[in-house]
C-alpha cells in the first residue's frame, strides 16, 4: 500500500459528488496507515528499551572488569609490592569518618575488622556514622572488640595528637539536621534571655558552632570520609562538619579490602588543599 496513492485518494474526498463506497475504502486505508504508525512507534520504543538495557549491560561489564583490577591492586598494595604505599604521614589524617550503609552496619564483625585495620595503619580518631543509628546500638560490642575508647570530645583540636588509644565517635542522621534545630532553639532561648525579644537576632557561624558543642555535638570536622555502600553518597553525615572533608567511595562493606584502605589514606595524605584561594 503506497502512501502517495492514498494521499491522492484523500484529495478526492473534497469532491462533493463522492462515491460512499470509495470514501469508506479511503478511510479504511487511512486507519490501516495509522495502525502501521502505531506499530512503528511501538517497535521504536522496544528498540530503545533493548538498546538501553544493552548500554547498561556494557557498563556492568566495565565495572566488573574495573572491580577485578581494583581487587588485584589492593592485594598487591597489601602485600607491600608498591613502595610508595609503605610510608605515609598519618599525622596529616587527624580525624577520619566512616559512613556505612545502614543495612551493612549490622555486620558488626566486619566493622570491627575495619577498625583493626585502621588501628594497624595508625589512625587514632574515628567517627562511625550510619543513617539509622545501627552502629550506636552496637557501640559496646564494637568498643570492646576493637580496643578503643568512646570519644568524649576535646576542647582543642591540637590535643588530638596526644591521645594514645584509638577513640571512636558514633553518629547518626539525628546528629545532623535535628542537631542544628536543637542548636537553633538554644540560640533562640539565649537570645530571649538577653532581653532580645525586642531585637532581631543576628547569628554568626561561630554562634552555631558553639551551640552545637553545647548540645553535645563536639566532634571536629573529619579530614577524610570513607563511604562503605553501593554508591558514593554521604548519607546525611552532619552537614556542619563536612565543609572541606574529602569524600571517597570504598565500595560495599562486604567487599572491603585492606589494600584499598591503605591506598585511600595514602592518597589523602598527598592532597593539597586551596580552601577556595
Amino acid at each position: 500500500m503506497e502512501n502517495g496513492s492514498v494521499l491522492q485518494e484523500v484529495k478526492l474526498l473534497n469532491d462533493p459528488q463522492l462515491n460512499p463506497r470509495r470514501c469508506s475504502q479511503v478511510i479504511t486505508m487511512l486507519l490501516y496507515m495509522l495502525n502501521q504508525g502505531e506499530a512503528f512507534s511501538k517497535i521504536g520504543k522496544l528498540g530503545l528499551l533493548l538498546l538501553w538495557h544493552f548500554v547498561h549491560f556494557v557498563v556492568s561489564i566495565w565495572y566488573f572488569a574495573v572491580g577485578i583490577a581494583y581487587m588485584l591492586e589492593s592485594y598487591l598494595v597489601a602485600s607491600g609490592a608498591f613502595k610508595e604505599y609503605k610510608t605515609h604521614d598519618i599525622a596529616k589524617l587527624q580525624y577520619l569518618a566512616i559512613v556505612i550503609e545502614s543495612g551493612e552496619a549490622y555486620e558488626t564483625s566486619k566493622v570491627i575488622t575495619l577498625l583493626k585495620w585502621l588501628a594497624a595503619i595508625g589512625v587514632k580518631h574515628i567517627c562511625l556514622y550510619d543513617t539509622e543509628g545501627v552502629l550506636k546500638k552496637s557501640k559496646e560490642t564494637i568498643l570492646e572488640n576493637s580496643n578503643a575508647t568512646f570519644w568524649e570530645g576535646l576542647d582543642k583540636r591540637s590535643s588530638l595528637l596526644d591521645q594514645k588509644l584509638m577513640t571512636i565517635e558514633f553518629a547518626s542522621f539525628s546528629d545532623g539536621k535535628e542537631a542544628v534545630a536543637k542548636a537553633a532553639n538554644l540560640l533562640f532561648v539565649n537570645h530571649l534571655k538577653l532581653g532580645g525579644d525586642l531585637m532581631a537576632p543576628i547569628f554568626t557561624e561561630r554562634n552555631i558552632t558553639d551551640a552545637l558543642r553545647a548540645i553535645g555535638c563536639k566532634g571536629p570536622d573529619p579530614d577524610l570520609l570513607l563511604v562503605y555502600g553501593p554508591a558514593r553518597c554521604h548519607l546525611g553525615f552532619p552537614a556542619w562538619r563536612m565543609r572541606y572533608t574529602e569524600i571517597v567511595h570504598m565500595g560495599t562493606l562486604k567487599s572491603m579490602k585492606f589494600g584499598s584502605l591503605v591506598k585511600a589514606i595514602h592518597k589523602y595524605t598527598m592532597v593539597h588543599q586551596n580552601y577556595g584561594r
Binding site: 538498546l51 532581631a200 547569628f203 554568626t204 554521604h234 546525611g236 552537614a239 572541606y244 577556595g276 584561594r277
Partner: protein, 282 residues
C-alpha cells in the same frame, strides 16, 4: 575563492552541528528509557588550571568555563533536567587576590547581562534564573545585574537555573537559623497582645529552618558533579545532598562535556534503586 571556501566552511560546520544535535537526540532518547535526574548540581572547579595548562591569560580560563557552562546547560535542558544549580563563587573565594576577584565579578556582570539582553538559551528553554547566596556581599553593580536577571526571567516556568554566588552551605544554614529565630521573635511580639506565656513556648522546628534555606524552591539535587577530580564538596549544598550521587570526573571544568554528562546519568540510573531506598529511610 576565499568567500566560497568560507561559505563552504560554514556549511560544513552547520552539517556537523546538525549531526551533533541528531546524535545527542538519539543518545538522550535512549537514556530517557530509564529515570532522568530532576536536579543536577555542578561545582565548576578547574578554570585557572585550564588556563595554565593551555598557556592562556588568567581570565581566559573563566571565559572557557562560561562557554562550557552554556553547552552543559543546553544538554541538561535537552535531556529534560528541570533544575540545574551551579557553584559560581564561594564566600571563601573572596580571599583570592583582589584583582582576580574584581575580574571575576566583572565577568559575571557581563555574562548576566548577555544572558538576559540577547536571545539566548534562557528564552529557548524558558529558564528562570535565581541567584542564591549572601548577595549583600557582592558589589552593587553585580547585585543589581543579578536582581535584574531574576526579575526578567521570573515568569519563565519550564526550568530553573540556580547560580550560587557569595554562597557557602554554612552561611546558608546560619542565615536559615537566624531567619527562623527572627520569625519566632516576631510571633512572640504578636503573642504579647494575647498570651505572653504561650508565645515563649514556641519552638523552632526543622521544618521552620528548611523553609528559610536559600535553596528551598528547588528539590534536593540528584547528582552533584565536581570537576578536576577533587573529592570534597567545599561547603556546597551540604544540607541538601544526603541522597545525592557524588561524581568527581578528573576533567577540568572547561573540558567537561556531553559524554561526562551521559556517564553521570548512566551511573545515576544504575544506583537509582539505592537512592530511592535511602530517601525512604531519611
Amino acid at each position: 575563492m576565499e568567500k566560497d571556501s568560507n561559505v563552504g566552511g560554514k556549511t560544513s560546520n552547520t552539517y556537523t552541528g546538525y549531526l551533533g544535535c541528531l546524535l545527542r537526540k538519539c543518545v538522550f532518547a535512549t537514556l530517557s528509557v530509564g529515570p532522568i535526574p530532576n536536579h543536577l548540581a555542578f561545582i565548576m572547579d578547574g578554570n585557572r588550571r585550564y588556563a595554565k595548562k593551555h598557556n592562556l591569560k588568567e581570565g581566559a580560563g573563566h571565559n572557557a568555563g562560561f562557554s562550557a557552562l552554556m553547552s552543559l546547560l543546553q544538554y541538561c535542558y535537552e535531556l529534560g533536567v528541570q533544575y540545574v544549580t551551579v557553584y559560581a563563587f564561594s564566600i571563601d573565594n573572596f580571599k583570592r587576590r583582589p584583582e582576580e576577584v574584581e575580574s571575576l565579578m566583572d565577568l559575571m556582570q557581563e555574562k548576566i547581562y548577555k544572558l538576559i539582553e540577547e536571545v539566548s538559551i534562557v528564552d529557548r528553554y524558558g529558564i528562570r534564573i535565581c541567584f542564591i547566596g549572601n548577595l549583600k556581599l557582592l558589589k552593587d553593580s553585580v547585585r543589581e545585574a543579578a536582581e535584574r536577571a531574576m526579575k526578567a526571567t521570573a515568569k519563565n516556568s519550564k526550568s530553573v537555573l540556580s547560580v550560587c554566588v557569595a554562597y557557602t552551605s554554612t552561611d546558608e544554614i546560619t542565615h536559615a537559623v537566624q531567619e527562623s529565630c527572627r520569625e519566632k521573635v516576631d510571633a512572640i511580639e504578636q503573642a504579647d497582645s494575647y498570651n505572653k506565656e504561650e508565645g515563649n513556648n514556641l519552638l523552632i522546628n526543622l521544618v521552620d529552618i528548611e523553609k528559610k534555606m536559600y535553596m528551598v524552591a528547588a528539590p534536593n539535587p540528584d547528582i552533584i558533579i565536581r570537576t578536576s577530580g577533587e573529592t570534597r564538596l567545599s561547603n556546597f549544598l551540604l544540607w541538601q545532598s544526603a541522597c545525592s550521587h557524588l561524581y568527581s570526573p578528573s576533567a577540568l571544568w572547561p573540558e567537561l562535556g556531553f559524554w561526562h554528562l551521559v556517564w553521570a546519568v548512566l551511573n545515576f540510573q544504575r544506583d537509582h534503586w539505592y537512592f530511592e531506598k535511602i530517601k525512604k529511610q531519611i
